[in-house]
Subunit: 537 residues, 2 copies
């Protein structure tokens, strides 16, 4: 079905098609019946392939609750980081706004969730708790909905699905390899690709479970573990908020101390899943206000929970508000102002590493500092990482080898990469942010202009999907060359969404990167694309 | 008082000090009396030098109204573009939030208004209409307040001020040159500087009045005329809003047609003030939502004014909301999606140019496209500019020479400057945005980190005050070299705030720019700094 020779109109091998072998599928007869029965409610953009059916939940909280009893389709106007826990438990995700690079689309693809975005003909009314489509009765929370993330079709009612055969064999173990020809073709193709490629392929994974999936999909390590995703679970977010609202460093340290065991536990699980492999952990990146509620209702509930006055809490939320959060108080800037946050995270990493190594397993943490723009930021924070690591290693009496490096995601870091490489032991290109800043264009706001831009042939490809070789790629080349002029063996990788895009993987191979990193479900694509790049060069 | 030999600790000549000769001054005896009398209410950051006294106005609207009868101090928590009309009429500006690069500080310096920002010990309560300071009775709207923008002192009550002697001679004509030794020193120094410098010095000016001031301060043209500033006056903002809220292109064109005479009239006045000199006009830059109200009260008032339903209007405002407006739907992106906006502006420019030229005056418009990131954007919009210009020139039968060029303010434009220069006839470095994007740091949000960054020696200078030579400057060099590799005589200038900063002027001279452009009141600094740079090289 998928040969290395398949070629599209631009001469590019279609590595991306392999992902379709992984997506859940509708029972064919049932879907035909639903469409014939007039249950097509609307269409959106197919943002995450595969079929999903479940009961409608209009909020992440409801999704979590309802998912205990049944499958859930999370239906939102659009999603934000606070919805991640709801997206995790959902069988599928539907938004009425946003494009193929919206938060919902990017996160859903990362999770391998079937997803439809920008279903503009549908209307979500959170107030009434209704999903409306012209010519149909409104659907309410708890009603069944089915979405085909491969085609963009939204159907009312339940349409039964089943996992792909590859998943049944590889992840679930519910089918024997011998029983699936699809799986055996998949496996043969990827083994062939692995023998050809020179690029290593790592994964973006934030939980032991993601790490396990990634291992089964052939990852040779983690290229990006986003520690903030560990903060959104119910019992943790409260402590994160306590930390943010603390009136002084002492209060922050106390809240952080309570978060430490959770992070250590997550790192422990991840290190065990990928024993012997390198694991790159990015220290806290998003602005703190992302962890706080924003509507008056949510603020009021949180004030009650935390024993704050409503007015006082609302003022605190307002004070943390930023005009351009993407360009605000986040990444390493958080640690320059509140070093205790990263100190806790580094301690958790090395305590977990020592525990795992004690059990005889290989552990290779690579601590990554985000949003570095100047050498001095990196120097200050690398010193801190090495100091805390040394403390933990001495306390436990267990040596752990590690690297400290940085993301290259700010144009200034790329332009001054020779200086940055004096301190950094590796670079990982954060091409999502690097693209935003190089283009001066926010990924969240791009849908407003993208249609007009593509219609007028201004962007040949969406730069958030495939690396813009001239601009963003030009900066990457400058950074790679300057970095290696300072440190010839500097390890170079990429951990943006582009790491799972075949054209971008080819470019990464061309400029001499050591590895690409992508979400678990895109690993087969990246492995194939890396082989194709090797063949081409 | 100011010699070219004055040197500070870093070996840099203190060109900046000359600006103090321009600021209004308190009557010395009155100020001493006020301080002795316990009328010091608090302190903030000295953001715009000079003394001001006036009645407190808590909003731009009230400031405009009150300014008809008396001097006004505009007192805000912070300012936004909608406050500009209020800042224009105010004798001084006080904010309780924000740093030296906040909107209030930047705009006030541009206007030459005495300004104090970040006076954190004072509290503005818009609801009660009060300014509170510990240990004092609250001040109400209409009460007198005096601010010393050179020292940051905020005093209750009226303290009489007078214009500097230089202003009295040069701008007001109320004093003869012979009567002021200060003026004659000032004039002699600048004439000497003009003879030495090779950099041209232009001005950032948005009104005929600013243009006149700039001419008197020695500008040799306009480097940046921000057309959006022409949209905020009362009778205009209504039409701008009609344009934004129009349901289709026809509605937008109708509203734009009504705006055209206002813009034409402004351009006419500016061209006449600077007859014979080049005038660079930047087409609309800010996102459209900056022209809409945001609070429920304002939305409700606007809905009434415009015959919209409140709910409908609120939804429209919400729809235009952007997560990161700095990286959003603005600049040339507006014109790619709504070409009729720039078409109106270009028509207004050339109708005015023809009218002025008809009267025998020299007119040299340089039309500037903002926020260009790709060659294709520029090609599309240059074609449009040339087409509309040709139409007007043919209609009027009056030939006008003009240039079409672009700002270089997006890293990608700098990186691909050779391609951009195929189309552009000039580059103007927009170093405010270029700094924001190269650092990944928003000027509005920087105050949160700046103190910690300066304390830890991460930023030796505030990159929004003085060009970061390594990063932002590196991009500027790339752009200058690539641009001139394509077009050896390509005209290069700078129009960011840095154009009035002595260290930045020196850098611009080093990399071969043709001119710097700065706000009228910084022209003497720029002229001096340009001479110092020439001496040094």
């Amino acid at each position: 079905m998928f040969g290395l020779k398949a070629v599209d109109g631009h001469g590019q091998l279609e590595a991306g098609q392999i992902v379709q072998l992984l997506a859940p599928i509708f029972d064919g007869g049932q879907k035909a019946k639903a469409l014939k029965g007039g249950r097509l409610y609307g269409r959106g953009l197919p943002a995450g392939p595969g079929a999903a059916t479940g009961r409608i939940a209009f909020s992440a909280e409801r999704a979590v609750e309802m998912a205990k009893d049944d499958k859930v389709i999370l239906v939102r106007i659009e999603t934000s980081p606070e919805d991640i826990v709801g997206m995790h438990v959902a069988a599928g995700i539907l938004t009425t706004r946003g494009g193929l690079t919206s938060h919902a689309a990017v996160v859903a693809r990362g999770m391998g969730r079937p997803c439809i975005v920008g279903a503009g003909s549908l209307r979500v009314d959170y107030g009434k708790g209704e999903l409306r489509a012209e010519g149909h009765e409104p659907l309410e929370e708890g009603d069944w909905l089915s979405i085909d993330g491969s085609t963009g079709e939204v159907m009312g009612g339940k349409v039964e699905t089943q996992p792909s055969e590859v998943i049944q064999v590889l992840i679930e173990g519910s089918m024997k390899p011998e029983a699936s020809e699809t799986y055996r073709n998949f496996d043969r193709l990827l083994k062939w690709a692995d023998a050809l490629r020179t690029l290593a392929v790592r994964t973006n994974a934030d939980t032991p479970n993601d790490a396990r999936t990634a291992r089964l999909f052939g990852a040779s390590g983690i290229g990006l573990c986003r520690t903030e995703h560990m903060f959104f679970a119910e019992e943790r977010i409260l402590r994160v908020r306590e930390m943010i609202l603390a009136r002084n460093e002492e209060g922050r340290r106390k809240a952080l101390e309570e978060l430490l065991p959770f992070q250590r536990n997550d790192f422990n699980g991840i290190f065990r899943e990928l024993a012997g492999m390198p694991v790159t952990i990015r220290l806290l990146d998003p602005p703190l206000h992302e962890f706080l509620p924003h509507t008056e209702g949510q603020i009021s509930a949180m004030a009650r929970d935390m024993g704050w006055g409503f007015v006082e809490l609302r003022a605190k939320v307002a004070q943390l508000h930023e005009t351009n959060p993407m360009l605000g108080h986040r990444g390493c800037r958080l640690a320059i102002t509140y070093p205790e946050i990263y100190e806790m995270q580094v301690r958790a990493i090395f305590e977990a590493a020592c525990d795992v190594k004690k059990d005889g397993l290989g552990v290779h943490p690579e601590v990554m500092i985000p949003l570095v723009g100047t050498t001095k930021e990196l120097e200050i924070l690398c010193d801190m990482v090495r100091r805390v690591a040394a403390e933990v290693i001495q306390e436990r009496g267990i040596p752990v080898d590690f690297l400290v490096g940085t993301m290259i995601e700010i144009p200034r870091a790329a332009l001054t990469a020779d200086k940055i490489a004096e301190t950094a032991e590796f670079f990982s290109f954060g091409t999502n942010d690097l693209t935003q800043m190089t283009f001066g264009l926010s990924r969240d706001d791009v849908p407003r202009v993208l249609a007009a831009y593509q219609a007028q042939d201004i962007y040949q490809v969406d730069p958030f999907v495939s690396i813009d070789r001239e601009g963003v790629g030009g900066l990457m080349k400058i950074a790679a060359e300057k970095g290696r002029s300072q440190k010839p063996k500097l390890k170079l990788g990429i951990c943006g969404e582009h790491g799972g895009d075949p054209l971008s993987v080819e470019f990464c191979d061309q400029i001499g990167l050591d590895y690409v990193s992508c979400s678990p479900y895109r690993l087969p694509i990246a492995r194939l694309a890396a082989a194709q790049a090797a063949l081409k060069s």
